[in-house]
């Protein structure tokens, strides 16, 4: 039980990190990583949504789709995620305006974050995470923590990149991508040495 939880966390948050090793959620990773504070905001918003969406998609899959309508999975999941994001946005606005002030602008961006749909789909196929709805939700949480770690690390790297003089064609996205590649190399290389 505890071993399973640990294994899920280590695998999706660190070793098979969604950004660096599975290359999911790159758009917000490149778009919102220019400052550590916005990176943290995006990371928290994604964590919030991903934990919820993994629980809800799993519930709906078990109750409605399993067996007969599995081919509707993608359509139903993306609709759930889109409406969940809307719902969370409205609820935050009403109930926790301070949190909404911090996360509000990132929420609409999350619908098209492929890490969210990816986590929901992956959790169904994962041997450990498919055990029950709590594990599923925890899988989403771990993946989002991995995303947050990645985006935070990279925000720090980007602060340095922006200060350097870069050859003209490489300015903007190219140097950001190359920086991301080297960061990913370091991240993956660091973890490859750890064996469980």
């Amino acid at each position: 039980m505890i071993l399973d939880i640990l294994a899920i966390f280590l695998s999706v948050a660190l070793v098979d990190n969604y950004v660096f090793s599975q290359t999911l959620g790159i758009c917000p990773f490149l778009g919102v990583s220019s400052k550590p504070s916005t990176a943290l905001g995006m990371g928290l918003a994604v964590t919030f949504v991903m934990t919820m969406s993994n629980a809800v998609t799993r519930l709906v899959f078990d109750l409605l789709l399993k067996g007969r309508f599995e081919y509707l999975q993608t359509v139903v999941f993306i609709l759930i995620i889109a409406s969940l994001v809307q719902l969370i946005e409205m609820m935050l606005k009403k109930l926790l305006p301070s949190l909404y002030g911090a996360l509000g602008i990132y929420l609409p961006l999350i619908t098209t974050n492929c890490a969210v749909l990816g986590a929901a789909t992956n959790a169904l196929g994962d041997q450990r995470a498919s055990a029950n709805i709590l594990f599923s939700s925890f899988y989403g949480f771990s993946a989002a923590i991995g995303f947050t770690i990645a985006i935070l690390i990279f925000a720090g790297v980007r602060a340095r990149i922006d200060e350097e003089s870069v050859p003209e064609p490489f300015r903007g996205t190219p140097i950001t991508l190359i920086g991301a590649g080297i960061t990913a190399l370091v991240f993956n290389g660091l973890l490859a040495g750890i064996k469980f």
């Binding site: 294994a7 899920i8 280590l10 695998s11 999706v12 070793v15 098979d16 081919y71 509707l72 359509v75 992956n122 196929g125 994962d126 041997q127 450990r128 064996k195 469980f196």
Partner: protein, 195 residues
């Protein structure tokens, strides 16, 4: 109030129509593709079994699913077991198992074991991550020489092999084979009890 309801209907009606339309379209396509997909999976499975037992194209083995015990003896990761016959001749058993690596990498494998408990061959049906990765590990040489031709008892009594290289997939592969061996032992022990 009435105006608002009308507005709501005007907005939601097209959405409902589009949803129905798309679901109908998907269901229609699914109606045609589902049998083909099933057929494909069956063909892949049959081909893999043939490859495992080294049968030629025109030889059609009979593959009977074996009943798995539903108790704690069943190793986790065991999916199915089959007895493979060629006409009257018993060729051996085929274990369908999944193994997960230290992390999330899952491999779905077929392990062929003959009547004497000797491992004939292994193959990988699907991998949850990069497909083909499992084949790479299988083709590595180390794994084939480690497992092939050795008996279940030999392997289970020896120390586990030292895993090197692409460790994530290698661990998954080792776990999958381990599970197949355990499943074989469970099944044969059970049979021994029955006889």
């Amino acid at each position: 109030m009435k105006g608002r309801l009308l507005d709501l209907a005007r907005i939601s009606l097209p959405l409902v129509v589009i949803c129905t339309l798309m679901v109908a379209l998907i269901a229609a396509v699914n109606h045609f593709t589902a049998p083909v997909i099933n057929e494909n999976e069956k063909a892949l499975f049959n081909q893999s079994v043939k490859d495992l037992f080294g049968l030629s194209k025109n030889e059609e083995p009979t593959v009977d699913p074996l009943h798995l015990p539903e108790n704690e003896l069943l190793p986790s990761g065991a999916l199915a077991a089959y007895a493979v016959k060629m006409g009257e001749k018993q060729l051996g058993y085929c274990m369908e198992v999944t193994g997960s690596g230290a992390y999330s990498e899952d491999l779905r494998m077929l392990v062929a074991i003959d009547g004497d408990g000797q491992i004939i061959d292994l193959c990988c049906l699907a991998s949850s991550e990069t497909p083909g990765k499992g084949d790479k590990v299988l083709n590595d040489g180390f794994y084939s020489t480690y497992y092939l031709g050795r008996t279940v008892d030999e392997i289970t009594s020896a120390d586990p092999p030292i895993l090197s290289g692409s460790t994530k997939t290698a661990t998954a592969l080792y776990n999958a084979v381990d599970c197949a061996l355990a499943l074989y032992q469970t099944l044969t022990v059970q049979k021994g009890d029955g006889a």
